[in-house]
Symmetry: C2
Subunit: 238 residues, 2 copies
């Protein structure tokens, strides 16, 4: 039995500035970006933060928590298409955004008007390059997710997501447990299956001793074999 996490992820850790710098942005650019006029908001997990078609033209920086971008098909079946961890951002879209935004855990967000953001980008090549770089990283993740939903069986899909989570949350999977922020329904919405099946997959993974569950924590007693099962190659995450 797992229940919702109400504490923000990694809130006690690094500042937004630290995280940006750690991702390779130079300090001056980071300060320039963070000193732009902004407002800070909290997104909670009970309802969507942005619906489809909301035309908020703004940069959303994640300070803490965990955001998802999601879409739905014709029959209203939900597909989560991207995750945003602390230190990551959702870039502004000129057009109406065709995806919604939903917080998995309560998330603290720093929001910057897109015009201010674009203005700074115009005059700061280093920041501009950084934005291109992280965008390509998110693109690489989207491609890997396409392989996941398109080509891997449901077991490998869940295993792959767990591997990606471990790396993106910067834990050491051989010695540390993953604090899983998702419900099984949300994992189903990421991996393109049903929550019922996610449950069976988890039981199977645990039966094979590839994971060990302890409340919301997931241990990896056999990280090597889990990676192999998932055909997980971390290089797409850089």
């Amino acid at each position: 039995m797992t229940t919702r996490i109400t504490l923000p992820l990694r809130s006690g850790g690094l500042s937004l500035r630290d995280m940006l710098v750690q991702d390779g942005l130079d300090e001056e650019s980071a300060d320039l970006l963070l000193d732009l006029p902004n407002r800070v908001m909290t997104a909670d997990q009970r309802r969507p933060f942005r619906e489809f078609g909301s035309s908020r033209d703004e940069l959303i920086l994640v300070r803490s928590g965990l955001l998802t971008k999601y879409k739905t098909d014709g029959q209203g079946r939900r597909q989560i298409v991207a995750l945003r961890f602390p230190g990551e951002a959702i870039l502004p879209r000129e057009t109406e955004s065709e995806y919604g935004i939903h917080a998995i855990t309560e998330s603290e967000l720093q929001i910057v008007d897109s015009h201010d953001f674009e203005e700074v980008l115009d005059h700061n090549p280093a920041l501009s390059r950084h934005v291109r770089r992280i965008t390509l990283r998110h693109m690489a993740i989207a491609y890997e997710w396409l392989v996941n939903t398109g080509r891997r069986d449901t077991t490998a899909r869940v295993a792959h997501l767990l591997c990606e989570m471990a790396v993106r949350m910067r834990i050491d999977p051989e010695h540390e447990a993953l604090l899983n922020p998702f419900t099984q329904l949300q994992i189903a919405d990421i991996t393109g299956q049903t929550s019922v099946n996610v449950n069976r997959v988890f039981s199977a993974l645990e039966r094979e001793a590839l994971i060990k569950r302890d409340g919301r924590h997931i241990h990896f007693p056999n990280w090597m074999d889990l990676r192999r099962l998932a055909s997980f190659q971390a290089d797409y995450l850089n």
Copy 2:
């Protein structure tokens, strides 16, 4: 029976410059980009143009033809993750690229060294904004493909791809036929299924009079219902 297309797509049409301008880039920036030192190459459909891990750090502009980016899962099953039509580009990656590139039809490519490209971007905010814009467009397509493979049944997936192809190839589906450049195996590799099933889906779509096949051409006698079946909303393509 359909066989490979050997003629480049849209070769007789617009120049690369025309296509860039039509996509919203200003003329000066387009000239700046196209006048960068470059070499022109031909990619043919018989073998991959770039394998995984090839670290060619370069911008690839598609003059004619049709390119795919593809990845494979652990068991070597192929998933096509993106298409690049004439006028579109594959951006340089600093790291080794984690996808391969394969031409669907013989393609003429203009290749620019990434350093020259980045240099121009640094000094040309308009071009920089344009690159961000088209990148977000490709991201939106990747997200839609995720919904496709994750949430739609195989019939809707194929129908959705056909709709997207019609729009991206700029045909008028109510009055014009789509010249389908793909084999059924390639459609399977895009939509995450088997070529056998793609074949059955095509028969079914034709039986329902949602498409009509005529050699390599596909007519859309009932565009409205096809779109509905695919839950195709063109806005993600802008």
